[in-house]
Protein backbone atom coordinates (compact mmCIF):
# COMPACT_ATOMS: atom_id res chain seq x y z
CA UNK A 1 0.00 0.00 0.00
CA UNK A 2 1.24 3.44 -0.91
CA UNK A 3 2.24 5.49 2.08
CA UNK A 4 0.72 8.98 2.42
CA UNK A 5 3.28 11.50 1.32
CA UNK A 6 4.75 13.25 4.32
CA UNK A 7 5.37 16.97 4.47
CA UNK A 8 9.06 17.21 3.48
CA UNK A 9 9.46 20.42 5.49
CA UNK A 10 8.08 19.10 8.80
CA UNK A 11 10.43 18.64 11.69
CA UNK A 12 10.09 17.78 15.36
CA UNK A 13 12.39 19.78 17.61
CA UNK A 14 12.52 18.75 21.25
CA UNK A 15 8.99 17.44 21.01
CA UNK A 16 7.71 20.61 19.33
CA UNK A 17 6.07 19.71 16.03
CA UNK A 18 6.89 22.30 13.40
CA UNK A 19 5.29 22.26 9.93
CA UNK A 20 8.50 23.77 8.61
CA UNK A 21 11.83 24.72 10.21
CA UNK A 22 11.34 28.50 10.05
CA UNK A 23 10.60 30.41 13.23
CA UNK A 24 10.84 34.09 14.03
CA UNK A 25 13.39 35.20 16.61
CA UNK A 26 12.48 36.73 19.94
CA UNK A 27 12.68 40.51 20.05
CA UNK A 28 12.17 40.90 16.32
CA UNK A 29 8.56 39.83 15.99
CA UNK A 30 6.74 41.56 18.84
CA UNK A 31 4.02 39.29 20.22
CA UNK A 32 3.23 38.01 16.73
CA UNK A 33 -0.07 39.78 16.08
CA UNK A 34 1.74 42.98 15.03
CA UNK A 35 2.72 41.14 11.84
CA UNK A 36 -0.78 40.01 10.87
CA UNK A 37 -1.31 42.92 8.46
CA UNK A 38 1.92 42.04 6.63
CA UNK A 39 2.30 38.27 6.56
CA UNK A 40 0.47 34.96 7.02
CA UNK A 41 1.56 33.69 10.43
CA UNK A 42 0.04 30.26 9.73
CA UNK A 43 2.71 29.67 7.09
CA UNK A 44 5.46 29.83 9.71
CA UNK A 45 6.90 26.88 11.58
CA UNK A 46 6.78 28.87 14.78
CA UNK A 47 7.02 32.28 16.35
CA UNK A 48 9.07 33.19 19.38
CA UNK A 49 7.61 36.16 21.19
CA UNK A 50 9.41 39.08 22.81
CA UNK A 51 11.20 38.07 26.04
CA UNK A 52 8.82 37.99 29.00
CA UNK A 53 9.61 38.90 32.58
CA UNK A 54 7.47 38.57 35.69
CA UNK A 55 6.68 42.30 35.81
CA UNK A 56 6.51 44.75 32.88
CA UNK A 57 9.87 46.35 32.02
CA UNK A 58 10.29 49.80 30.53
CA UNK A 59 13.57 49.14 28.73
CA UNK A 60 16.64 51.28 28.19
CA UNK A 61 16.97 54.99 27.51
CA UNK A 62 17.18 56.19 23.91
CA UNK A 63 19.02 56.01 21.49
CA UNK A 64 18.53 52.27 21.50
CA UNK A 65 19.55 51.32 17.96
CA UNK A 66 22.13 52.24 15.36
CA UNK A 67 22.71 50.78 11.93
CA UNK A 68 26.10 49.24 11.16
CA UNK A 69 27.53 47.72 7.96
CA UNK A 70 25.15 44.84 7.03
CA UNK A 71 23.67 44.90 10.51
CA UNK A 72 22.45 46.87 13.47
CA UNK A 73 23.31 47.34 17.09
CA UNK A 74 20.48 47.35 19.62
CA UNK A 75 20.12 47.92 23.32
CA UNK A 76 16.37 47.75 23.87
CA UNK A 77 16.78 46.45 27.41
CA UNK A 78 14.11 43.73 27.26
CA UNK A 79 11.18 46.14 27.30
CA UNK A 80 8.09 43.94 27.59
CA UNK A 81 4.53 43.90 28.89
CA UNK A 82 5.19 41.24 31.52
CA UNK A 83 3.92 37.67 31.58
CA UNK A 84 0.42 38.50 32.89
CA UNK A 85 -0.37 41.04 30.15
CA UNK A 86 1.06 38.62 27.60
CA UNK A 87 -1.38 35.91 28.70
CA UNK A 88 -4.43 38.18 28.92
CA UNK A 89 -3.85 40.70 26.09
CA UNK A 90 -1.36 39.32 23.57
CA UNK A 91 -1.67 35.54 23.42
CA UNK A 92 -5.45 35.50 22.68
CA UNK A 93 -4.77 37.41 19.46
CA UNK A 94 -2.87 34.38 18.16
CA UNK A 95 -5.82 32.06 18.67
CA UNK A 96 -6.63 30.36 15.39
CA UNK A 97 -3.15 30.93 14.02
CA UNK A 98 -1.75 27.56 12.97
CA UNK A 99 1.83 27.86 14.20
CA UNK A 100 3.87 26.90 17.25
CA UNK A 101 4.09 29.74 19.77
CA UNK A 102 7.25 29.76 21.86
CA UNK A 103 7.44 32.05 24.88
CA UNK A 104 10.88 33.53 25.48
CA UNK A 105 11.40 34.11 29.21
CA UNK A 106 14.00 35.78 31.38
CA UNK A 107 14.55 36.89 34.92
CA UNK A 108 17.00 38.76 37.07
CA UNK A 109 17.13 35.86 39.51
CA UNK A 110 16.62 32.11 39.23
CA UNK A 111 13.39 32.53 41.21
CA UNK A 112 12.04 34.98 38.65
CA UNK A 113 12.74 32.53 35.82
CA UNK A 114 10.86 29.88 37.83
CA UNK A 115 7.88 32.18 38.44
CA UNK A 116 7.53 33.12 34.77
CA UNK A 117 7.91 29.50 33.67
CA UNK A 118 5.24 28.35 36.16
CA UNK A 119 2.83 31.05 35.04
CA UNK A 120 3.12 29.89 31.41
CA UNK A 121 3.02 26.18 32.18
CA UNK A 122 -0.75 25.77 32.15
CA UNK A 123 -1.35 28.40 29.48
CA UNK A 124 -3.11 27.12 26.40
CA UNK A 125 -1.47 28.10 23.15
CA UNK A 126 2.15 28.01 24.28
CA UNK A 127 4.17 25.15 22.72
CA UNK A 128 7.50 25.63 24.44
CA UNK A 129 9.66 27.96 26.50
CA UNK A 130 12.87 29.54 25.29
CA UNK A 131 15.09 30.61 28.17
CA UNK A 132 16.95 33.82 27.50
CA UNK A 133 20.20 33.55 29.42
CA UNK A 134 22.04 35.63 26.90
CA UNK A 135 20.73 39.14 26.53
CA UNK A 136 23.71 41.49 26.61
CA UNK A 137 21.64 44.59 27.29
CA UNK A 138 20.48 44.26 30.88
CA UNK A 139 22.49 44.98 33.95
CA UNK A 140 21.34 42.14 36.19
CA UNK A 141 20.80 38.50 35.33
CA UNK A 142 20.97 37.89 31.60
CA UNK A 143 24.58 37.85 30.69
CA UNK A 144 25.87 36.46 33.98
CA UNK A 145 23.68 33.42 33.44
CA UNK A 146 24.75 33.37 29.80
CA UNK A 147 28.50 33.37 30.25
CA UNK A 148 28.97 31.20 33.33
CA UNK A 149 28.29 27.49 32.65
CA UNK A 150 27.46 26.81 36.32
CA UNK A 151 24.93 29.67 36.51
CA UNK A 152 23.42 28.70 33.14
CA UNK A 153 22.93 25.12 34.32
CA UNK A 154 21.33 26.37 37.54
CA UNK A 155 18.70 28.37 35.61
CA UNK A 156 17.98 25.55 33.17
CA UNK A 157 17.48 22.85 35.79
CA UNK A 158 15.26 25.16 37.84
CA UNK A 159 13.08 26.01 34.83
CA UNK A 160 12.91 22.34 33.79
CA UNK A 161 11.52 21.48 37.22
CA UNK A 162 8.97 24.29 37.00
CA UNK A 163 7.39 23.37 33.66
CA UNK A 164 6.08 20.46 31.64
CA UNK A 165 6.73 22.35 28.39
CA UNK A 166 9.77 21.63 26.24
CA UNK A 167 12.63 23.98 27.16
CA UNK A 168 14.95 25.62 24.64
CA UNK A 169 17.98 27.47 26.02
CA UNK A 170 19.20 30.45 23.99
CA UNK A 171 22.96 30.79 24.05
CA UNK A 172 25.19 33.82 23.95
CA UNK A 173 28.08 34.01 21.49
CA UNK A 174 29.96 36.29 23.89
CA UNK A 175 31.97 33.45 25.40
CA UNK A 176 35.34 31.87 24.71
CA UNK A 177 33.91 28.47 23.77
CA UNK A 178 30.19 28.17 23.15
CA UNK A 179 30.44 24.36 23.26
CA UNK A 180 31.14 24.55 26.99
CA UNK A 181 27.90 26.48 27.53
CA UNK A 182 25.93 24.13 25.27
CA UNK A 183 27.18 21.07 27.16
CA UNK A 184 26.43 22.67 30.52
CA UNK A 185 22.79 23.35 29.63
CA UNK A 186 22.42 19.94 27.98
CA UNK A 187 23.61 18.29 31.19
CA UNK A 188 21.14 20.46 33.11
CA UNK A 189 18.31 18.99 31.07
CA UNK A 190 17.50 21.48 28.31
CA UNK A 191 15.51 19.93 25.47
CA UNK A 192 17.15 22.06 22.79
CA UNK A 193 19.55 24.95 22.36
CA UNK A 194 19.09 28.02 20.18
CA UNK A 195 22.01 30.13 19.00
CA UNK A 196 23.30 32.71 18.55
CA UNK A 197 22.03 35.75 20.40
CA UNK A 198 23.60 39.08 19.46
CA UNK A 199 27.31 39.81 19.67
CA UNK A 200 28.27 42.69 21.95
CA UNK A 201 29.42 45.72 19.97
CA UNK A 202 29.87 49.46 20.07
CA UNK A 203 29.59 52.47 17.75
CA UNK A 204 31.15 55.85 18.56
CA UNK A 205 30.08 59.28 17.35
CA UNK A 206 33.50 60.82 16.62
CA UNK A 207 32.21 64.42 16.57
CA UNK A 208 30.77 64.15 20.07
CA UNK A 209 33.32 61.50 21.16
CA UNK A 210 30.45 59.64 22.76
CA UNK A 211 28.92 56.21 22.19
CA UNK A 212 25.89 56.40 19.90
CA UNK A 213 23.81 54.12 22.14
CA UNK A 214 22.65 55.48 25.50
CA UNK A 215 23.91 52.28 27.13
CA UNK A 216 27.30 52.58 25.36
CA UNK A 217 27.26 49.01 24.06
CA UNK A 218 24.61 46.91 22.39
CA UNK A 219 24.02 43.64 20.57
CA UNK A 220 25.05 43.28 16.93
CA UNK A 221 22.66 41.41 14.65
CA UNK A 222 21.99 41.07 10.95
CA UNK A 223 23.87 39.43 8.07
CA UNK A 224 27.18 40.79 9.38
CA UNK A 225 27.19 38.10 12.08
CA UNK A 226 25.98 35.16 10.00
CA UNK A 227 29.30 33.38 9.33
CA UNK A 228 30.09 33.48 13.05
CA UNK A 229 26.67 32.02 13.84
CA UNK A 230 27.00 29.24 11.26
CA UNK A 231 30.41 28.33 12.67
CA UNK A 232 29.03 28.19 16.22
CA UNK A 233 26.06 26.03 15.18
CA UNK A 234 28.45 23.65 13.46
CA UNK A 235 30.70 23.48 16.55
CA UNK A 236 27.79 22.96 18.94
CA UNK A 237 26.29 20.25 16.71
CA UNK A 238 29.45 18.23 17.23
CA UNK A 239 29.42 18.78 20.99
CA UNK A 240 25.82 18.01 22.04
CA UNK A 241 23.02 15.58 21.21
CA UNK A 242 20.05 17.89 21.83
CA UNK A 243 18.58 19.57 18.76
CA UNK A 244 19.83 23.00 17.72
CA UNK A 245 17.84 25.98 16.50
CA UNK A 246 20.18 28.18 14.47
CA UNK A 247 20.00 31.91 13.98
CA UNK A 248 22.11 34.93 13.20
CA UNK A 249 21.65 37.18 10.18
CA UNK A 250 19.34 34.97 8.12
CA UNK A 251 18.00 37.00 5.19
CA UNK A 252 17.10 34.23 2.72
CA UNK A 253 16.42 30.52 2.28
CA UNK A 254 20.04 30.07 1.25
CA UNK A 255 21.17 31.51 4.58
CA UNK A 256 18.71 29.31 6.49
CA UNK A 257 19.90 26.20 4.64
CA UNK A 258 23.50 26.91 5.66
CA UNK A 259 22.41 26.61 9.29
CA UNK A 260 20.39 23.46 8.66
CA UNK A 261 23.21 21.76 6.78
CA UNK A 262 25.61 22.82 9.55
CA UNK A 263 23.44 20.96 12.07
CA UNK A 264 20.41 23.06 12.99
CA UNK A 265 17.04 21.28 13.08
CA UNK A 266 15.24 24.59 12.74
CA UNK A 267 16.14 28.25 12.27
CA UNK A 268 14.98 31.60 13.53
CA UNK A 269 14.77 34.69 11.35
CA UNK A 270 15.46 37.88 13.31
CA UNK A 271 16.59 41.30 12.13
CA UNK A 272 15.35 40.53 8.60
CA UNK A 273 11.76 40.86 9.89
CA UNK A 274 12.43 44.58 10.36
CA UNK A 275 13.50 44.95 6.74
CA UNK A 276 10.66 42.92 5.26
CA UNK A 277 7.82 41.79 7.56
CA UNK A 278 6.97 38.97 5.14
CA UNK A 279 10.55 37.68 4.81
CA UNK A 280 10.14 34.63 7.07
CA UNK A 281 7.40 33.26 4.81
CA UNK A 282 9.68 33.88 1.80
CA UNK A 283 12.38 31.83 3.56
CA UNK A 284 9.87 28.96 3.94
CA UNK A 285 9.06 29.05 0.19
CA UNK A 286 12.75 29.09 -0.68
CA UNK A 287 13.45 26.05 1.49
CA UNK A 288 10.48 24.22 -0.06
CA UNK A 289 11.86 24.93 -3.52
CA UNK A 290 15.33 23.65 -2.51
CA UNK A 291 13.95 20.50 -0.88
CA UNK A 292 11.90 19.74 -4.00
CA UNK A 293 14.84 20.42 -6.35
CA UNK A 294 17.10 18.11 -4.36
CA UNK A 295 14.43 15.45 -3.78
CA UNK A 296 15.07 15.49 -0.06
CA UNK A 297 13.49 16.49 3.25
CA UNK A 298 14.46 19.01 5.89
CA UNK A 299 14.94 16.13 8.32
CA UNK A 300 17.56 14.58 6.03
CA UNK A 301 19.29 17.90 5.46
CA UNK A 302 19.93 18.53 9.16
CA UNK A 303 23.66 18.17 9.77
CA UNK A 304 24.26 16.79 6.27
CA UNK A 305 27.50 18.76 5.95
CA UNK A 306 30.54 16.99 4.53
CA UNK A 307 33.92 18.36 5.51
CA UNK A 308 37.52 17.56 4.65
Amino acid sequence: MKKTKENPLAIVVAGIRLKNPVMTASGTFGYGSEFMPYTDLSKLGGIVVKGLSLKPRQGNPSPRIVETPCGMLNAIGLQNVGVEAFITDKLPKLKGVDTAVVANIFGETVDEYIEVAKRLDDTEGVSALEINISCPNVKKGGIVFGTDPFEAARVVSAVKKATRLPVITKLSPNVTDIRVMAKAVEDAGTDAVSLINTITGMVIDIEKRRPVLATSTGGLSGPAIRPIAVRMVWQVSQAVRVPIIGMGGIMSAKDALEFIIAGASAVQVGTANFVDPDISVKVVSGIAEYVERHGTTVKDLVGSLTTG
Binding site: F35, P63, P223, P277, D278
Partner: protein, 265 residues
Protein backbone atom coordinates in the same frame (compact mmCIF):
# COMPACT_ATOMS: atom_id res chain seq x y z
CA UNK B 1 -0.95 46.34 3.93
CA UNK B 2 1.92 44.54 2.29
CA UNK B 3 5.38 45.70 1.44
CA UNK B 4 5.13 46.87 -2.17
CA UNK B 5 7.50 47.53 -5.02
CA UNK B 6 6.71 50.85 -6.64
CA UNK B 7 8.05 52.69 -9.67
CA UNK B 8 10.00 55.93 -9.44
CA UNK B 9 8.26 58.66 -11.45
CA UNK B 10 10.88 61.35 -10.83
CA UNK B 11 13.85 61.91 -8.57
CA UNK B 12 14.99 65.48 -9.12
CA UNK B 13 17.34 67.72 -7.20
CA UNK B 14 15.66 70.76 -5.66
CA UNK B 15 19.09 72.05 -4.74
CA UNK B 16 22.43 70.30 -4.41
CA UNK B 17 21.55 68.12 -1.40
CA UNK B 18 17.75 68.06 -1.54
CA UNK B 19 15.66 65.89 -3.83
CA UNK B 20 12.01 65.43 -4.74
CA UNK B 21 11.10 61.78 -5.19
CA UNK B 22 7.86 60.85 -6.92
CA UNK B 23 6.58 57.29 -6.53
CA UNK B 24 3.79 55.71 -8.55
CA UNK B 25 1.76 54.11 -5.82
CA UNK B 26 -1.95 53.52 -5.52
CA UNK B 27 -1.94 54.02 -1.82
CA UNK B 28 -4.38 53.21 0.83
CA UNK B 29 -5.61 56.27 2.70
CA UNK B 30 -2.93 58.79 3.65
CA UNK B 31 -3.38 61.24 6.50
CA UNK B 32 -1.00 64.23 6.68
CA UNK B 33 1.80 63.29 9.07
CA UNK B 34 2.01 59.71 7.85
CA UNK B 35 5.39 58.36 6.85
CA UNK B 36 6.69 55.49 4.73
CA UNK B 37 9.65 53.15 5.15
CA UNK B 38 11.73 52.94 1.98
CA UNK B 39 14.35 50.39 1.14
CA UNK B 40 16.92 52.18 -1.00
CA UNK B 41 18.51 49.03 -2.42
CA UNK B 42 18.02 45.26 -2.40
CA UNK B 43 21.56 44.79 -1.05
CA UNK B 44 22.56 44.21 2.55
CA UNK B 45 24.31 47.53 3.14
CA UNK B 46 22.49 49.67 4.00
CA UNK B 47 20.36 46.99 5.59
CA UNK B 48 17.45 48.84 7.14
CA UNK B 49 14.66 50.85 5.61
CA UNK B 50 14.59 54.57 6.14
CA UNK B 51 11.57 56.60 7.25
CA UNK B 52 10.40 59.48 5.06
CA UNK B 53 7.53 61.88 5.65
CA UNK B 54 4.97 62.22 2.87
CA UNK B 55 5.15 65.66 1.20
CA UNK B 56 2.43 65.35 -1.42
CA UNK B 57 -0.21 62.87 -2.52
CA UNK B 58 -0.29 62.95 -6.32
CA UNK B 59 -3.73 63.61 -7.84
CA UNK B 60 -5.14 63.50 -4.35
CA UNK B 61 -8.81 62.99 -3.69
CA UNK B 62 -10.49 63.42 -0.34
CA UNK B 63 -10.43 66.12 2.32
CA UNK B 64 -8.49 64.98 5.38
CA UNK B 65 -7.90 61.41 4.30
CA UNK B 66 -6.27 61.31 0.92
CA UNK B 67 -6.17 58.78 -1.88
CA UNK B 68 -4.16 59.27 -5.04
CA UNK B 69 -1.97 57.85 -7.79
CA UNK B 70 1.29 58.29 -5.98
CA UNK B 71 3.27 60.22 -3.43
CA UNK B 72 6.05 62.77 -3.40
CA UNK B 73 8.76 62.73 -0.74
CA UNK B 74 11.45 65.30 -0.16
CA UNK B 75 14.74 64.15 1.24
CA UNK B 76 18.12 65.53 2.07
CA UNK B 77 21.23 63.54 1.17
CA UNK B 78 22.82 62.93 4.58
CA UNK B 79 24.45 59.50 4.42
CA UNK B 80 24.91 56.29 2.52
CA UNK B 81 21.22 55.43 2.18
CA UNK B 82 20.05 58.79 0.90
CA UNK B 83 23.18 58.95 -1.28
CA UNK B 84 22.13 55.73 -3.03
CA UNK B 85 18.57 57.02 -3.27
CA UNK B 86 19.73 60.20 -5.01
CA UNK B 87 21.26 58.09 -7.80
CA UNK B 88 17.99 56.32 -8.63
CA UNK B 89 16.33 57.12 -11.96
CA UNK B 90 12.71 57.12 -13.18
CA UNK B 91 11.46 53.64 -13.99
CA UNK B 92 13.51 51.95 -11.28
CA UNK B 93 11.54 50.33 -8.48
CA UNK B 94 11.80 50.74 -4.72
CA UNK B 95 10.30 48.70 -1.91
CA UNK B 96 7.93 50.77 0.21
CA UNK B 97 6.14 49.94 3.43
CA UNK B 98 3.32 52.13 4.60
CA UNK B 99 1.62 54.48 5.06
CA UNK B 100 2.61 54.32 8.73
CA UNK B 101 2.02 56.29 11.92
CA UNK B 102 -0.90 58.31 13.25
CA UNK B 103 -0.79 61.67 11.47
CA UNK B 104 -1.79 65.16 12.61
CA UNK B 105 -5.13 65.53 14.41
CA UNK B 106 -7.68 67.63 12.56
CA UNK B 107 -8.19 71.04 14.23
CA UNK B 108 -11.57 72.39 15.28
CA UNK B 109 -12.92 74.73 12.53
CA UNK B 110 -12.87 77.70 14.91
CA UNK B 111 -9.26 77.20 16.01
CA UNK B 112 -6.41 79.40 14.84
CA UNK B 113 -3.66 77.28 13.34
CA UNK B 114 0.07 77.92 13.44
CA UNK B 115 2.51 75.53 11.82
CA UNK B 116 6.12 75.78 12.81
CA UNK B 117 8.78 73.94 10.84
CA UNK B 118 12.52 73.64 11.18
CA UNK B 119 14.53 72.45 8.18
CA UNK B 120 13.22 69.15 6.81
CA UNK B 121 10.37 69.37 9.33
CA UNK B 122 8.60 71.25 6.56
CA UNK B 123 7.81 67.99 4.76
CA UNK B 124 4.82 66.59 6.69
CA UNK B 125 3.55 70.09 7.49
CA UNK B 126 3.26 70.92 3.81
CA UNK B 127 0.88 68.01 3.24
CA UNK B 128 -1.04 69.06 6.33
CA UNK B 129 -1.23 72.71 5.19
CA UNK B 130 -2.35 71.71 1.71
CA UNK B 131 -5.33 69.79 3.11
CA UNK B 132 -6.27 72.27 5.86
CA UNK B 133 -5.70 75.29 3.58
CA UNK B 134 -5.62 77.84 6.38
CA UNK B 135 -3.41 79.05 9.19
CA UNK B 136 0.07 80.50 9.09
CA UNK B 137 3.50 78.97 8.76
CA UNK B 138 6.69 79.82 10.58
CA UNK B 139 9.62 78.31 8.74
CA UNK B 140 13.13 78.24 10.12
CA UNK B 141 16.31 77.15 8.39
CA UNK B 142 20.04 77.76 8.50
CA UNK B 143 19.92 80.12 5.56
CA UNK B 144 17.89 81.15 2.55
CA UNK B 145 19.16 78.17 0.53
CA UNK B 146 17.47 75.77 2.95
CA UNK B 147 14.01 77.31 2.60
CA UNK B 148 13.68 75.50 -0.70
CA UNK B 149 10.03 74.52 -0.73
CA UNK B 150 8.75 77.83 0.60
CA UNK B 151 7.26 78.72 -2.76
CA UNK B 152 4.97 75.70 -2.55
CA UNK B 153 3.60 77.15 0.66
CA UNK B 154 3.12 80.56 -0.86
CA UNK B 155 1.17 78.92 -3.66
CA UNK B 156 -1.25 77.63 -1.03
CA UNK B 157 -2.00 81.23 -0.11
CA UNK B 158 -0.85 80.84 3.49
CA UNK B 159 0.90 83.51 5.46
CA UNK B 160 4.55 82.47 5.75
CA UNK B 161 7.22 83.99 8.00
CA UNK B 162 10.84 83.01 7.79
CA UNK B 163 13.65 82.84 10.28
CA UNK B 164 17.21 82.02 9.24
CA UNK B 165 20.18 81.53 11.49
CA UNK B 166 22.40 83.59 9.18
CA UNK B 167 19.77 86.28 8.63
CA UNK B 168 19.70 85.77 4.86
CA UNK B 169 15.91 85.62 4.86
CA UNK B 170 13.39 86.98 7.36
CA UNK B 171 14.10 87.11 11.07
CA UNK B 172 17.71 86.50 12.04
CA UNK B 173 17.68 83.81 14.70
CA UNK B 174 15.55 80.81 15.57
CA UNK B 175 12.07 80.22 14.25
CA UNK B 176 10.82 79.72 17.80
CA UNK B 177 11.58 83.43 18.41
CA UNK B 178 8.52 84.14 16.24
CA UNK B 179 6.17 81.74 17.99
CA UNK B 180 4.94 83.59 21.09
CA UNK B 181 3.93 86.59 18.97
CA UNK B 182 1.93 84.32 16.64
CA UNK B 183 -0.25 82.45 19.12
CA UNK B 184 -3.06 83.12 21.60
CA UNK B 185 -4.49 80.74 24.23
CA UNK B 186 -6.91 79.17 21.73
CA UNK B 187 -4.33 78.49 19.02
CA UNK B 188 -3.43 74.98 17.92
CA UNK B 189 0.22 74.62 16.99
CA UNK B 190 1.69 71.88 14.79
CA UNK B 191 5.46 71.56 14.98
CA UNK B 192 8.05 69.48 13.16
CA UNK B 193 11.80 69.90 13.18
CA UNK B 194 14.90 69.26 15.26
CA UNK B 195 14.37 68.19 18.88
CA UNK B 196 15.68 71.45 20.50
CA UNK B 197 13.25 73.45 18.34
CA UNK B 198 10.35 71.20 19.32
CA UNK B 199 11.26 71.45 22.97
CA UNK B 200 11.28 75.26 22.78
CA UNK B 201 7.99 75.29 20.87
CA UNK B 202 6.40 73.00 23.48
CA UNK B 203 7.58 75.31 26.29
CA UNK B 204 6.23 78.43 24.60
CA UNK B 205 2.86 76.81 23.87
CA UNK B 206 2.57 75.55 27.46
CA UNK B 207 3.31 79.06 28.75
CA UNK B 208 0.84 80.74 26.38
CA UNK B 209 -1.85 78.12 26.90
CA UNK B 210 -1.86 76.98 23.28
CA UNK B 211 -2.38 73.36 22.25
CA UNK B 212 0.74 71.87 20.69
CA UNK B 213 1.32 68.78 18.57
CA UNK B 214 4.81 67.73 17.58
CA UNK B 215 5.95 65.28 14.94
CA UNK B 216 9.08 63.48 16.11
CA UNK B 217 11.87 61.81 14.23
CA UNK B 218 14.01 58.97 15.54
CA UNK B 219 16.21 56.25 14.09
CA UNK B 220 13.98 53.23 13.58
CA UNK B 221 14.54 49.74 12.24
CA UNK B 222 11.04 48.46 11.51
CA UNK B 223 8.52 51.33 11.48
CA UNK B 224 5.74 49.04 12.73
CA UNK B 225 6.22 49.02 16.50
CA UNK B 226 8.17 45.82 17.01
CA UNK B 227 11.88 46.65 17.20
CA UNK B 228 11.21 49.16 20.02
CA UNK B 229 14.22 51.13 18.79
CA UNK B 230 12.54 54.52 18.32
CA UNK B 231 11.56 54.91 21.97
CA UNK B 232 11.14 58.39 23.44
CA UNK B 233 10.71 59.01 27.17
CA UNK B 234 7.14 59.85 28.03
CA UNK B 235 6.23 62.57 30.51
CA UNK B 236 4.89 61.64 33.94
CA UNK B 237 1.48 62.66 32.55
CA UNK B 238 1.65 59.66 30.22
CA UNK B 239 2.87 57.20 32.81
CA UNK B 240 -0.59 56.54 34.18
CA UNK B 241 -1.08 54.33 31.12
CA UNK B 242 2.05 52.49 32.17
CA UNK B 243 3.88 53.92 29.20
CA UNK B 244 7.29 55.03 30.32
CA UNK B 245 8.38 55.16 26.74
CA UNK B 246 6.38 55.87 23.61
CA UNK B 247 7.35 54.56 20.20
CA UNK B 248 7.70 57.24 17.54
CA UNK B 249 6.64 54.84 14.76
CA UNK B 250 3.55 53.21 16.24
CA UNK B 251 2.39 55.63 18.97
CA UNK B 252 3.35 58.65 16.85
CA UNK B 253 5.07 60.20 15.05
CA UNK B 254 2.66 62.97 16.12
CA UNK B 255 2.29 63.51 19.88
CA UNK B 256 0.59 66.05 22.04
CA UNK B 257 3.62 67.91 23.40
CA UNK B 258 2.59 67.39 27.05
CA UNK B 259 3.05 63.63 26.62
CA UNK B 260 6.79 63.91 26.01
CA UNK B 261 9.51 64.27 28.63
CA UNK B 262 11.36 67.19 27.01
CA UNK B 263 14.22 67.05 29.50
CA UNK B 264 15.15 63.62 28.21
CA UNK B 265 14.37 64.00 24.53
Amino acid sequence: MQEQRVEILYNEPVSSRYFRLGLKWKTSVIVPGHFVMLRVSDGLDPLLRRPFGVYKVLNAKGRDKLKGDGIELIYQVVGKGTGILSGKTPGEVLSVLGPLGNGFPVPHPSQDIVMIAGGMGIVPLYLFASTIKRGSLLFGARGKAQTLVAKDFKALGLKVRFATEDGSLGHKGYVTDLLSGAITPGTIVYACGPAPMLKKAAEICAKEGAQCYVSLERAMACGIGVCLGCAVKASAHNERENKNYVMVCSDGPVFESALIDWDRI
